[in-house]
């Protein structure tokens, strides 16, 4: 395996508060890498830095061999990094189906020039067909015509996942994919994520609090504490690490 995402000496501070301190982070091609840590450990900040939502103060980020440190989030998406948010971000006034249409059309826009701006009065058949495929794949059939803002929490998350898959990413970053879900929904979400990971051949980067989800998905586990990585490796090995038990797992 080769590293698809490599971060070296990652440093991020908000004002005088240093959230990430000289973090080295690797993500191998094809792995499902879960980052855990107590609240305030810097998980979300690490996520934001890697996805390009915020600028880093120091260090480099390489994706598939290319230095992406200076690129915006949108530019990183074009290179194959998709991401979801802790609270699902969708287009609330559009129908769920239109959300998907927008995602697919946005991926395709660069090949179309002016036709993209004036050319069609309806989405192209290929786009609609692709959206329908995604609906079936993610099990969104019942809610596809509903206004996205009225969907349940779990359905919003599934819709957001579908939108990210429409971008055909190589690496998908999921920020707490099961936050706020019931235990049965969580198990369902783990199955769904495993399924799309296999069928799309994705590398995954996740943050998560629920230990069942963590150990259900992770092929590699990293523990973040006060902006530093204190353990990283096979999930079982990390679970046995005494320092990890002390700062994080022990609390549960």
């Amino acid at each position: 395996m080769t590293a698809i995402l490599e971060a070296r000496g990652l440093t991020k501070a908000y004002g005088s508060v240093r959230v990430l301190e000289d973090v080295d982070f690797d993500l191998q091609d094809g792995e499902a890498h879960v980052v855990i840590g107590p609240n305030g450990a810097g998980k979300t900040t690490l996520f934001r830095c890697l996805s390009g939502e915020t600028r880093i103060n120091g260090g480099t980020i390489r994706f598939a061999g290319e230095d992406v440190s200076g690129l915006t989030g949108a530019q990183r998406v074009k290179r194959g990094i998709g991401r979801t948010f802790q609270v699902a971000r969708i287009f609330p006034s559009m129908s769920a189906f239109e959300n998907l249409i927008v995602a697919i059309e946005t991926r395709e826009r660069t090949h179309q020039g002016l036709r993209f701006t004036f050319g069609y009065i309806a989405p192209r058949r290929a786009v609609v067909a692709e959206a329908e495929r995604l609906v079936t794949e993610l099990g969104l059939e019942d809610t596809v015509d509903d206004v996205a803002g009225t969907l349940s929490h779990g359905d919003k998350k599934r819709l957001e996942l579908a939108m990210c898959l429409a971008l055909k990413p190589r690496l998908l970053m999921l920020d707490e994919p099961t936050a706020g879900m019931s235990p049965s929904d969580r198990a369902e979400a783990v199955r769904l994520i495993t399924r799309v990971r296999d069928s799309y051949g994705l590398s995954l980067l996740l943050t998560e609090h629920d230990m069942e989800v963590v150990f259900g998905l992770a092929t590699r586990l990293t523990v973040l504490h006060h902006g530093e990585i204190i353990a990283s490796g096979q999930p079982e090995a990390v679970r046995a690490d005494p320092r990890v038990r002390e700062v994080y797992l022990g609390q549960h």
């Binding site: 996805s51 939502e53 915006t72 989030g73 949108a74 530019q75 998406v77 074009k78 998709g82 991401r83 948010f85 971000r89 969708i90 287009f91 609330p92 006034s93 559009m94 129908s95 189906f97 239109e98 249409i101 927008v102 995602a103 059309e105 946005t106 991926r107 826009r109 179309q112 993209f116 701006t117 004036f118 050319g119 069609y120 009065i121 309806a122 989405p123 609609v128 596809v144 015509d145 206004v147 803002g149 009225t150 957001e160 939108m163 971008l167």
Partner: protein, 336 residues
């Protein structure tokens, strides 16, 4: 699933009815009323150009007069100083002037400000342009540019003589129909959907891999070009370009039309502009009554039916349809 083709057909039907109504005006009304109808037709598209920003891109402009006035003055200048220039090219220059103003302003303002600060910047910039016009001799200072001729269009096969007011009225109706059609196509294209998406959640659109700034600028330039096109078409009709058309009161017009008619609907500005024209006509003998009526009406609309007239009608229709079984849905701003 949304039936896009049915939506296109029903909008085309509405447009056809509207066009027919405008087409019979010269037969049934006197020249004063026809003149007003011509201005209303221009105002409809002017309102729509503003609503493209407001409901489409989620940008609030208080300075649309700068585009309208910019287009009008560009048109006036070319027809006075360059009489040999083909008329349609003059219109294109007018629209291009608006696009250029929007581009320059948009590059500066869209990067720096958002929300209310953006709105105030548009107002300030528009006032600046008004001030420049009133101080520039070349642009006629406070007197404006007068005696602008109505054109004849040489097509090679035949000559279209638009020098009479009636002929030019028909030209306005056709030009505005074309502009509205182009705008509809844009708003319902993938790009139009994307701009909507940016308004609803800009972070999500950024992480779909698009430049928010680029698309907002596109919408802004398009809106500016369209407003300027309206100004450019108006000038040969009124035969004068005066500084008032770049004044801030003109900027309030498309806002009034849109809020009266309903911002969530493509035809909202059209309904508002026609209503506004009717009030203007009904109160023409009593100076000041028009403003009072419009002001009161707007107050009522904003307080009682924030979705405007069309939003109100649509809401009522949905309520009626759903009454027997299910409760009324939450009101959304989904496009019709």
């Amino acid at each position: 699933m949304i039936d896009y083709r049915a939506r296109f057909r029903s909008n085309l039907a509405i447009a056809a009815c509207g066009l027919a109504a405008f087409a019979v005006v010269p037969f049934v009304a006197n020249s004063g009323l026809m003149f007003l109808a011509g201005l209303v037709a221009i105002n409809i598209v002017f309102g729509m150009s503003w609503n493209l920003l407001f409901s489409g891109a989620g940008l609030l402009s208080f300075g649309h007069a700068m585009f309208f006035g910019g287009g009008a003055y560009a048109m006036a200048l070319v027809s006075l100083h360059w009489p040999g220039l083909p008329f349609l090219l003059g219109l294109a220059i007018g629209a291009g002037a608006g696009a250029l103003i929007a581009l320059v302003f948009g590059v500066i303002a869209l990067r720096r400000a958002s929300g209310v600060y953006f709105a105030v910047l548009t107002l300030v910039f528009s006032e600046l342009i008004h001030l420049v016009i009133t101080k520039t001799t070349f642009l006629g200072r406070n007197d404006g540019l007068v005696g602008i001729p109505r054109p004849t269009i040489e097509t090679g096969l035949f000559t279209l003589d638009l020098t009479s007011a009636t002929a030019y009225y028909y030209f306005i109706v056709v030009a505005m129909a074309c502009a509205a059609f182009a705008l509809w196509c844009f708003q319902n294209s993938p790009a139009g959907r994307l701009i909507q998406a940016i308004r609803q959640d800009n972070l999500r659109t950024a992480f779909l891999g698009t430049s928010i700034f680029g698309w907002q600028l596109t919408a802004f330039v398009l809106s500016g070009a369209l407003a300027a096109f309206c100004g450019a078409v108006m000038v040969p009709f009124t035969q004068i370009a005066s500084p008032e058309i770049a004044y801030w009161t003109v900027s309030t017009q498309p806002i009034l039309f849109t809020l009266l008619g309903g911002a969530g609907n493509f035809w909202g500005p059209a309904v508002g502009a026609i209503l506004f024209g009717a009030i203007d006509y009904g109160t023409r003998a009593m100076h000041g009554l028009s403003e009072i009526t419009v002001g009161t009406l707007l107050l009522l609309v904003v307080l009682l039916i924030p979705g405007g007239l069309l939003g109100f009608l649509q809401h009522r229709r949905q309520k009626k349809r759903r009454k027997p079984t299910e409760p009324a849905p939450k009101r959304t701003e989904a496009q019709p």
